[in-house]
């Protein structure tokens, strides 16, 4: 009987833990890629007129603006 | 809106009458499904007769998928949505028309399937009114959900797999209620079907209503 109990706990905790870890890993990877994309845009775009960047920066700054501050949850 | 609906339904049905794809392909598909069930569940007619209602409705559900795919395939191939969008017709009307045409074809199919079930499984047809009522309400709900998800899936490369995945879980209550209603009728106790018919009607009304509102936005996207 007890085998079932242990199996249940292991499966549940293991799955949640694994999922949580993969989320954090995916998030770090995505943050790294976005950082690279931003810096490559800045580097390559030092002489370019604003048009190419406006659609990207428009939505990006709208998205990024709410992120600052240590007290925010997200 | 209703005028556009009749227009679209008429067009779809006329295309079907001319091409007879429903008759030549969806119909045989449904018969094949019945036969395969027969093979799977064994030659014991008692088992099959007991399961008739459920098998009938599963066959109907699967046939709905084909009918919906066909409904969108007859618009200009992959530009289906563009064609409908540019036609200038009221989207709610288009939805009602297409769903209506699908429903009409399904009802004809169901008549054939009923005969098939009686013949192949030895189902004892009784409680005709309940059988028909369940078919009417159930089919309407199926056609509504199918047409709604169909417009989303149309024009996508993944449409053949996406549509069934979206459609089948949502219409599970229709399968359940219609099967139970039919079981009650076939068992000679049609009175017991009342509540299940209510479920079918509620489902149909709900999803036809949702469809008339949601079809427009879904049509515009993509």
């Amino acid at each position: 009987m007890n085998g079932y109990v242990e199996a249940g706990y292991v499966v549940v905790l293991g799955t949640i833990g694994t999922y949580g870890v993969t989320l954090v890993v995916r998030e770090r990877a995505a943050r790294r890629r976005v950082g690279q994309a931003v810096s490559s845009v800045s580097a390559a775009g030092s002489s370019d007129p604003p048009e190419a960047g406006v659609p990207a920066s428009g939505s990006a700054s709208a998205g990024g603006g709410e992120e600052t501050g240590p007290g925010t949850l997200i | 809106m209703l005028r556009d609906a009749v227009l679209v339904a008429g067009k779809d049905l006329r295309i079907e009458l001319r091409s007879r794809i429903g008759l030549n392909q969806v119909g045989p598909f449904a018969i094949a499904v019945l036969l395969l069930f027969g093979l799977a569940l064994g030659p014991d007619r008692a088992v099959l007769a007991a399961a008739s209602a459920g098998l009938f409705w599963v066959a109907v559900l699967l046939s709905t998928l084909l009918a919906v795919q066909r409904s969108y395939a007859i618009e200009s191939a992959d530009a289906a949505r563009d064609g409908l969008r540019l036609s200038g017709l009221d989207p709610a009307g288009i939805f009602l028309g297409k769903a209506g045409a699908v429903a009409a074809q399904l009802l004809v199919l169901e008549a054939g399937l009923t005969a098939g079930v009686a013949l192949l499984y030895g189902a004892h047809l009784s409680g005709g009114l309940v059988l028909i009522a369940a078919c009417a309400a159930g089919t309407l709900g199926l056609a509504a959900v199918g047409t709604l998800y169909g417009v989303v899936a149309s024009g996508l490369r993944t449409r053949e797999t996406l549509l069934p995945l979206l459609f089948l879980p949502v219409v599970a209550p229709v399968l359940l209620a219609a099967t139970k209603a039919w079981n009650a009728a076939l068992a000679g106790t049609p009175g017991r079907a009342g509540g299940w018919l209510d479920v079918l009607v509620v489902f149909a009304v709900l999803y036809v209503a949702i469809g008339t509102v949601a079809f427009g936005p879904l049509l515009e996207d993509g």
């Binding site: 549940v12 943050r31 800045s42 390559a44 002489s47 600052t68 240590p70 | 989303v152 949502v170 359940l176």
Partner: protein
């Protein structure tokens, strides 16, 4: 333009860290209490310990579904339309599908020794199974390519079509089962055996802890979604800038 045009999301948010720690402590306490401190049940024996885990899984599964539906509704309503509601819906759905799967697995593991079968057509379990597939369909729909607003609106409508179905499914299945008198998870005889004393507190702790876990996972999934969207737009910007630089160099 050498300065970045926006600030990247904070790598570490203190509040999120606190939440994560609290969730971890809560779960650990639940496990410790559930496995070691609480007594075995009079009827179920040690199997009752699984009931500190399974109901919280189900609770989160349906909570996630509720939040995804609400967020979808808010996205569709013109006055409250905002990108974050779409991301919220998507995040909640992904976390929700994990918990829904776990509800089914934990229920199955509990059911096998209790009823002798890995699966029974219990109304709640059956509805949960259907919810699982509905979630998967919704997530598949979200992955269909398209511009943000198009994808978001389509997903929101898809969510409502699917999730409005859940009450209908539940009542249909419940009625279906009530006609047959078969074991159910909410069976009163199994229910009242564990609502006393330390068992009740442990169960409550379980609910609270896993809700915190859900919120933490959701927050991270939300951030991930935001980063992926930024990646798309910035990636496009980078590609455009490169083309432009090439054009100017030539």
């Amino acid at each position: 333009m050498s300065t970045p045009r926006f600030a990247l999301p904070q790598g570490r948010s203190r509040a999120l860290g606190v939440l994560g720690a609290a969730a971890l402590v809560g779960v650990a306490a639940t496990v410790w209490l559930g496995l070691f401190v609480t007594p075995p049940d009079q009827f179920m024996g040690n199997l009752v310990r699984l009931l500190y885990i399974h109901p919280p899984m189900a609770w989160v599964a349906f909570l996630a579904y509720g939040i995804a539906s609400l967020a979808s509704l808010l996205y569709l309503w013109p006055r409250t339309r905002a990108e974050h509601f779409d991301r919220l819906a998507g995040a909640s759905a992904e976390v929700g599908v994990v918990f829904t799967g776990l509800t089914l697995v934990s229920g199955s593991i509990w059911g096998r020794p209790t009823w002798g079968a890995w699966w029974v057509w219990d109304p709640l379990l059956t509805t949960t199974a259907l919810l699982f597939v509905l979630y998967l369909g919704y997530l598949a729909l979200r992955r269909v390519p398209g511009e943000f607003h198009v994808r978001a609106r389509r997903s929101a409508i898809g969510a409502l079509i699917a999730f409005i179905d859940v009450p209908i499914v539940y009542f249909s299945v419940e009625w279906w089962r009530s006609l047959h008198q078969a074991p159910t998870v909410l069976d009163p005889t199994t229910h009242k055996t564990y609502v006393h004393g330390s068992m009740a507190w442990t169960l409550l702790l379980g609910f609270v802890s896993f809700t915190l876990v859900y919120i933490w996972l959701m927050a991270h999934r939300y951030r991930l979604g935001k980063l992926e969207d930024l990646e798309d737009t910035e990636g496009l910007g980078a590609a455009l800038a490169e083309r432009r630089a090439e054009g100017e160099a030539a």
